[in-house]
Symmetry: C2
DNA sequence: CGCTAGCTTGACATTCTTCAACCGGAGTGG
DNA sequence: CCACTCCGGTTGAAGAATGTCAAGCTAGCG
């Protein structure tokens, strides 16, 4: 694959699109300067592998633009995605030298990287980064648990609907309103990657997408562009409790 | 159900069985004293519910003895276990007032509880508790990701074998050597709870247990006591990479 | 202009679930 | 003490959901 040149701007922290959601969210003044001093950007084209499971990984990073996937592969080739990293999500683990999962860019991607050792020093010496990292890790654990319900108990149709609703909500910046107030967005994953995410085969994904389309829950414009005329109707297909309840 | 009296001893921290694995692991001297000052024990009988999803929860806790399960339930009754808490595991989330999942004791259980507010204060004012909590949360996230592979891609037989191997390894204190060097332990879960853990029906769990027994991978003594004559044979049934690789 | 990657669709096979019957031990009331 | 019932578990038969294998479509690209 030809390595296209990426076109993401390399922002100053003050203009960074994930400034108040990423691991740096709570930092100000000196702490932010320390982070800024050790940061550098890396760009990847859609489809590129960032690290393989077991590889030495000497940086941690925040996703600035694009989407990355963590996947696990069994000996016989069965694959399961176990993490989907959207802008502001954190990649890597402090105090761990080697990657536990394969990491690939599923769209063009920009990472804001920190060399691991200086980052760990910062964790030990300051409060705000580790506090934010704990919050984010707890959030990811909650998300992982929702995902487990999906993998263990939902039907193929519910899985697809749930996936679409996650994408729509998780990266609100991607979403736009199409004519008539409907939601519209581009899928950041191929059918195969969706299958890996959902614990299905790509054929089943394709069939269920067609089925949702036939029933008017979604519209497909091209293969990747989705229009959702009625978000409530989509939510109804997810199998989740409709009444937001607690909040 | 009659509320039997629990028989777990209430240890001083210095004699606590989870002293160096729980959230308090890194604490010494003053920090430990602060924790000790706000701790109290609670006991639950097998089957009891600790909190329901959405309930106000004004404490966090470490599991001292026994096993607790986090489960999610869909409107139509489908249930998925999303967390299995063994001794030293942490229950609850700082800065969150309401429980996100149902929590139940699957065996007789002892918790070492901390009122949430003082615990949060400790998190803000000291280093060692939050550092340990971050480590533990990252470990749980890794475990959740292994679990996703299981839920999404493993066969029923592989799921059962994986579950058994997790139990054997995760709480090494439970396990004993039966005659002939075989591993032996008691299942901490009913067939139904195993089904909820593994994303199966209880009938499928029962059938696969019978099948593994028929093939000599496990022996069943009563319904709950398991003997594993050959651990490698069990591992081979899990579908996981056999060579431990990195470690 | 033909290839390829990504996707769709069909026919058939397989796995797991569903529904139902049954078993055995523990606790309970007569 | 015995019959009863309940709970957790096992097993069988039939059906539904999803996977597998195979063919074919389409858009973009060399």
């Amino acid at each position: 694959m030809a390595q296209r040149q990426m076109a993401f701007p390399q922002a100053d922290c003050s203009e960074c699109p994930i400034r108040y959601r990423a691991v740096c969210a709570h930092c100000e003044g000196d702490e932010l300067n320390q982070l800024e001093a050790i940061k550098y950007y890396r760009n990847y084209a859609a489809g590129q592998t960032i690290v393989w499971a077991g590889d030495r990984m000497d940086f941690v990073a925040s996703v600035v633009h694009g989407v990355a996937a963590l996947t696990q592969t069994m000996e016989d080739g069965r694959r399961q995605m176990v993490g989907l990293l959207l802008p502001s999500d954190f990649l890597g683990r402090p105090n761990r030298e080697h990657a536990t999962f394969d990491v690939t860019a599923t769209t063009d991607l920009q990472l804001c990287c920190f060399r691991r050792q200086p980052f760990q020093d910062l964790l030990s010496n300051t409060h705000h980064v580790s506090k934010r990292l704990l919050e984010m890790t707890l959030d990811e654990l909650d998300a992982a648990r929702e995902w487990m319900l999906l993998l263990g108990r939902k039907t193929a149709r519910e899985k697809i609907a749930s996936f679409l609703s996650i994408i729509v909500r998780r990266d609100a910046t991607i979403q736009q309103f199409a004519k008539g107030g409907a939601l519209a967005f581009d899928l950041p994953l191929t059918r195969e990657a969706m299958a890996d995410y959902l614990g299905l085969t790509l054929e089943t994904v394709s069939r269920q997408m067609s089925s949702l389309k036939k029933d008017g829950v979604i519209r497909l414009e091209g293969k990747r562009h989705i229009v959702i005329p009625d978000f409530d109707a989509l939510m109804h297909e997810t199998g989740d409790d409709s009444d937001g309840g607690v909040y």
